[in-house]
């Protein structure tokens, strides 16, 4: 692997999202969604205060709304990551551009790693910026700010990294559209595995636990999503939730504890493993 070659591909990838106005569209969407979130939360808080609800109740309510917004945002991120990363290799293969590039002293590893770093810069950068904008907007209109905003954004960025790595790997062997679609479906299945797992815990349905764990570990976005929820919750909500016991655990928008370190490490290893798999598949592919 050559650092010079990798950075050339990183530059190409980042340049492409800027020049094709993908980044601009994402930023406009981020501004629009921040304005909508700000307006919506402001309306809720104003109505609540007019009805003389306590500030504690209002903050609990706003924290729940924020988690719901983060959930929608994680879906938008997953879609963006999937449809940016899926064509990263697939489109170059289809257009034949890759032939001229690989005839240079560029290795297939350089191309995969360069694409991955470039996409990570764009997607993770977008996650941090758009996420921070939403948090600040909520703070301005409601006064509520989660206890661990950076942790929440970090977990969201981790989710994006998982999705883009998966889409990039699938794009090595599948057409771009198929790779993007499969990635989004797998992301949704992972979340569904999380919901099902929580329900199985709440209702003592241990028999389906191995299946739900398999779904959550196979694509570890749900493991990281639990970290987002926990970091966005105020301590009072966690205490109240824990007080409600197993019933509250079934709530897909509540986490009584952060993901254990083992799960976070697994997500990191998963990203490295799938990236290595992408390199291996690309190196074996006939051009």
């Amino acid at each position: 692997m050559s650092a010079r070659q990798v950075w050339a591909i990183v530059g190409l990838t980042v340049g492409e999202t800027i020049r094709r106005r993908t980044l601009l569209v994402l930023l406009i969407l981020a501004v629009v969604s921040t304005l909508i979130v700000g307006w919506g939360v402001d309306q809720l808080v104003t109505t609540a205060r007019e009805n003389e609800l306590s500030e504690t109740t209002i903050r609990l309510g706003v924290s729940q709304v924020l988690i719901l917004i983060a959930f929608l945002f994680s879906f938008v991120l997953a879609m963006s990551a999937a449809f940016l990363a899926a064509p990263a290799i697939a489109a170059d293969l289809e257009s034949g551009t890759i032939l001229a590039m690989l005839a240079r002293p560029t290795s297939r590893t350089d191309i995969i790693v360069g694409r991955w770093i470039g996409l990570s810069i764009v997607i993770v950068g977008y996650t941090l910026l758009a996420g921070a904008m939403a948090l600040v907007a909520v703070r301005v209109v409601s006064g509520y700010f989660p206890g661990e905003p950076l942790t929440a954004l970090g977990f969201l960025a981790g989710e994006s990294a998982v999705v883009l790595t998966l889409a990039l790997m699938l794009g090595v062997r599948l057409p771009a559209v198929a790779a993007g679609a499969v990635t989004v479906v797998l992301f949704a299945i992972s979340w569904f595995g999380g919901v099902l797992g929580a329900l199985s815990a709440a209702f003592d349905a241990e028999s389906i636990r191995p299946l739900t764990d398999l779904l959550r570990y196979a694509v570890p976005t749900d493991l990281l999503w639990r970290g987002v929820i926990y970091a966005l919750e105020p301590p009072l909500a966690i205490l109240l939730g824990q007080g409600l016991g197993a019933g509250q655990e079934a709530n897909p928008f509540f986490a009584s504890s952060p993901p254990p370190p083992g799960q976070v490490i697994w997500a990191g290893l998963w990203i490295v493993g799938v990236l290595l798999l992408a390199i291996g598949l690309f190196r074996r592919r006939e051009l």
Binding site: A8, A103, P105, L287
Partner: protein
Amino acid sequence: MTAVGTGPAVETHALHKRYGRTVALESLDLRVERGEVFGLLGPNGAGKTTTVKLLLGLTRPTSGEGRLLGRPMGDREARRRTGYLPELFRYPAWLRAHEVLRLHCELAELPRRRWSGEIETALERVGLRTRGDDKVSGFSKGMQQRLGLGVALLGDPEIVILDEPTSALDPLGRDEVRGIIRDAGARGTTVILNSHLLGEVERLCDRVTIVHRGRAIAAGPVRELLGEPALRIRVSGIADPTALLGAFGPVVGTDDSGTLLRPLDPVRVPDVVAAVVAAGGRVHAVQPGRGSLEDAFLDLVRSDGVARHQDVGIAP
């Protein structure tokens, strides 16, 4: 550019490539000397593109071996000294022409201080000097092809491999590309021209290997493959032209365009004309030459087909 390795520019021994059940190359032996303009000629599906991809390491051989610029096929150092124009490609539409060249300067690991000069030279060579700032999305197929040629020639590589370089071009564009290839040859660059266009190969190449169904069925200088010298002459006012002309060489045939003598040494052409005039005849057309490469190619491909059919015991 300093040469790497020693020996021929390209050498392959019994190169064999199979894609699943399809045999793309059966057993290819190839040798391209340094500094020559070499034609790899064959019908579509003969294995020409597979050969190039194997040399560049874009695909791996099933068996056999080969060397590019004295290094194993696909070697990184050899690729650093190689320019390549793929047969089918489309540059990213959002890039400008000079940005495509800039990217390849980086990928080719050319020293940064040379980039600007190399990009200017490349655009000049392929006739895109005034279009460097234009996006590729606005380029016609022919312009993309010329840009690809500029990319292949970037940094004056030791060897340039061009896969069907004129396939998307109009006659004027083809002529310009032929000029670019001739210039590269004149600079001492080894050129491998992959083509199914016989006229192209005939006009440009020093030597040719004809590939058919994954095997080399003929190789040698173009003139040797062209066949024997001939003369086509159209006369009138002579009672028995065949008898008169037949005295100079075998008459192969006569039609509306004249009588064909083959073989006939070109130095005897004036004698033939003088004999017709002396016999009271009139000369309307004189066309000395050789058989075309197309004739030679078709003969070889057809006879190869016959040989294959006989090998398996069926009639052609």
